[in-house]
């Protein structure tokens, strides 16, 4: 052990100090109550120890005022903690609008990272400081959990759906990345790191790697390869609906319901097209289950997202 002992991981994200503050408040409250109760037990043990066999105490079987006091004080305290904690919790769930998107696929026993610009990493994630980063994550096999202690964040990565988490790193450095959800025999070897760089270093890093093609371009190629474009032709009488401008918008379904076309909806439309049928179309789209990987799905999604941006313009 050559490093100093640290009580808890350093604070490397904007969330970290907020979580630590409420944590320290809770420590203070807990120490107070533990000390109070232990002191009372000790005091009563000394003061009311049986002195003789005919020592007869006063019969007290309750005192309403006291009982009210010790019900109401804890109630007020937990309400404070609730409001405070809920604010942080809510913020930790709501990525800012300008967040940079990065995609994560977990599998036994590694992390696969895909940047929108095309860079791919295994068990490493490079991000710039001062920039909110939103991760869209899924798993190819079992449940994993993306855990960066220094950021005080953790989110389960569940097969069959996308989960998201966001953080804004504040200090350049290397931080540990772990799988926190037990995921099979070599769960403890699922180790990675997050490399936080200054924006300038980050740009160099992006430029320095082998030339890579942006995700939406790969996605577009996949879209052609899998012959999606044969039906989704953008022509008025096409067999499938136009996908331009669909992402993020509300889609009317057969039967009158409507849904927001988010990542999960795109994914479901590709893997299980019969689950939700777009109004005005026949359920002719085949399933692509088994023909496309989780990363491939994310690339196609990135492509459809890029269509949405163009469509909105």
């Amino acid at each position: 052990m050559d490093k100093d002992f640290v009580l808890w991981p350093e604070q490397a994200s904007t969330l970290a100090s907020r979580v630590d503050n409420i944590y320290l408040f809770l420590v203070a409250v807990s120490v107070f109550f533990t000390a109070l109760i232990f002191f009372l037990i000790y005091l009563f043990a000394v003061k009311y120890r049986r002195k003789s066999e005919d020592d007869v105490p006063k019969e007290i079987s309750g005192l309403l005022q006291l009982e009210l006091v010790w019900s109401i004080i804890p109630l007020i305290l937990v309400l404070i903690v609730f409001v405070w904690g809920a604010t942080i919790y809510f913020d930790s769930y709501t990525p800012p609008a300008d967040a940079m998107e990065i995609y994560v696929v977990g599998k036994q026993w590694m992390w696969h990272i895909q940047h929108p610009t095309g860079e791919r990493e295994i068990n490493e994630l490079h991000v710039p400081t001062g920039q909110a980063v939103k991760l869209t994550m899924t798993s190819e096999d079992v449940i994993h959990s993306f855990y960066v202690p220094a950021f005080r964040t953790k989110k389960d990565v569940v097969p069959g759906r996308y989960s998201t988490m966001w953080f804004k790193a504040i200090k350049p450095g290397e931080y540990h990345l772990f799988c926190a959800e037990y995921c099979g025999t070599k769960h403890s070897e699922m180790i990675g790191k997050v490399v936080v760089m200054t924006p300038a270093d980050y740009q160099n890093w992006l430029a320095g790697g082998p030339a890579s093609e942006p995700m939406e371009v790969t996605g577009e190629k996949k879209f052609q390869q899998l012959a999606c474009h044969t039906c989704h032709t953008d022509k008025p009488n096409a067999r499938g609906p136009s996908l331009v401008g669909v992402f993020g918008e509300s889609v009317l379904l057969k039967g009158g319901r409507s849904v927001i076309a988010d990542e999960d909806y795109i994914r479901e439309s590709i893997l299980n097209p019969k689950a939700k049928i777009t109004a005005g179309y026949q359920p002719v789209m085949p399933t692509f289950k088994g023909q496309i990987s989780e990363v491939g799905l994310l690339q196609i999604t990135a492509y459809l997202k890029s269509l949405a941006k163009e469509g909105n313009q």
Binding site: S61, E67, V78, H187
Partner: protein
Amino acid sequence: MSEATAVKEHISHEHHGFMNTYIFSLDHKMIGKQFLLLGLIMLLLGGGLALLVRWQLAYPEQPLPLIGASQHYLETGEAETAMDSYWDSELSKTEDEQGWLVQKMPVGIITPAFYNALFTMHATIMVFFVVMPILVGAFGNYLIPLMIGTRDMAFPLLNMLSFWIAVVSGAIMLAGFFVPGGHAATGWTGYPPLSTDPAWTGVDWGQNLWCISLIVLGISSLMGSINYITTIINMRAPGMTYMRMPMVIWALFIVAILLLLALPVLTAALAMLVFDRLAGTTFFNPAGGGDPLLWQHLFWFFGHPEVYILILPGMGITSEILPVFSRKPIFGYKAMVLAMASLAFLSWIVWGHHMFQSGMNPSMGMTFMITTMVIAVPSAIKTFNWLGTLWGGSIRFTVPMLNSLAFVSMFVIGGLSGIFMASSAVDIFIHDTYYIVAHIHYVVFGGSIFAIFAGVYYWFPKMFGRMMNEPLAKVHFWLSFIAFNCTFFPMHILGVGGHMRRIYNPMQYEFLQQFEHMNIFITMSAFALGLTQLILLFNVFHSMFRGKKAGDNPWNANTLEWTAATPPPHGNFDAIPTVHHAPYEYSAPGISEDWLSQTNELQPTNGNGH
């Protein structure tokens, strides 16, 4: 039929030989003792598994003491000790011929696959085969008829079956250790998809047997709970109104209701899991349109009431013992009953606090957050009312009393750490770390197990007619109390330091290497804690035969079990008692003694609590 002939009739079916008295007994007291024995045996086993887990965490991938190979053998391959030769000969065999031990821990080093089975089975055994059988099975069976003043349970045959089905379930669970592929290794929470497909863990029949065993155990618990509920509602002695019931009976009554409602949820989830594994359904498999999170909802919808099943009887036992040894009525009987009922009610609407990080909608998360926080209120009421019971008393520090005081103080720590985890922002940080492990053990060991100790020391004289050895019991208490805190308190620090639970080798993580010494300290304390329990076992079995003979009411307590002969005969009472008082009339003014049995007709002057 008159009361007297009914008693004779009943008593005349006793003594049908060894089998009917000791094995297939219908007597609730014998069934209670059988559950106690089952629980104690499983406690040894479950504790042993935990010590193996602890060894690996402190000395990762090093040979176990005693049975492991020597350093010399590992370095040179030359056998030096007897164990070296054993490992040497086993390792030279083909894989099919190798023995069980060498597959699980070649040269005494635990493999990752076996490690995962160890922590899974430790928790499963402790929750389902130690704490439940002892608190609910043993104390429930033994105490309910005696304390409400009746001769037996409403359905003695069902009661006997409930025990033997639990034994069958235990046998199925243990069989899992010996099937190819090893025992279940998905954690006691068994999350799919890890648990649905043998491809993910390499475990096949181990997981199936795990599911089947728990389904069978569900049947046993269901039988028990129906019996408890019926007995308490219908068979209370004359005068034993609900508000004169001892607190432990209230606790067991509420627990029986929780069991009746919660276990079918687990059984249904387990059945779905078995179908997914064996029949090709996809309840939890996204590839077939299922949802892995469905399991988490079902499991915790059962799971949180389950943790109250584990603690409420302990609260009941404590509420029984504190008044007896403070010679004072329990402080705020009504509030105590209400607090338990509200804990039971709240336990149904908090399950989502185990899933804050699973990606649920934050508004949902906030709902679970507030409901969980509110649990602090009834918990605080209970704690302060226990303190109120001590206040102004005349306290005797007997061993049951010491263990009950440990229960109260450890429950305070466990409850407070619960609040940290209830505030979801903090929980997201500490979820799935050793902080959770610390919390669990403060409530389940610090709470339930110390309550078991208290209960065993307190009712042992009634159960076996002899007193336990007091000096030995004090040594056991103090060593347990100290070793327990040394084992589990540092885990809070590990957790906040980012030390995850369920990891095979913490030394693989650079940033956890600083915790090596703490892990070693914890492991040494855990071994001390384990060894200390041998004192308890010795004391129990020694006192059973050699202890000082106990009178009918060695503690001068008020409740009905102490009015029966010691040990109570088949049928319990000569005549069904009539109850005249609330259970905790200690030091009532106007009478000469400082206690007043529930059956005593005397009215204290100026008495209260009626």
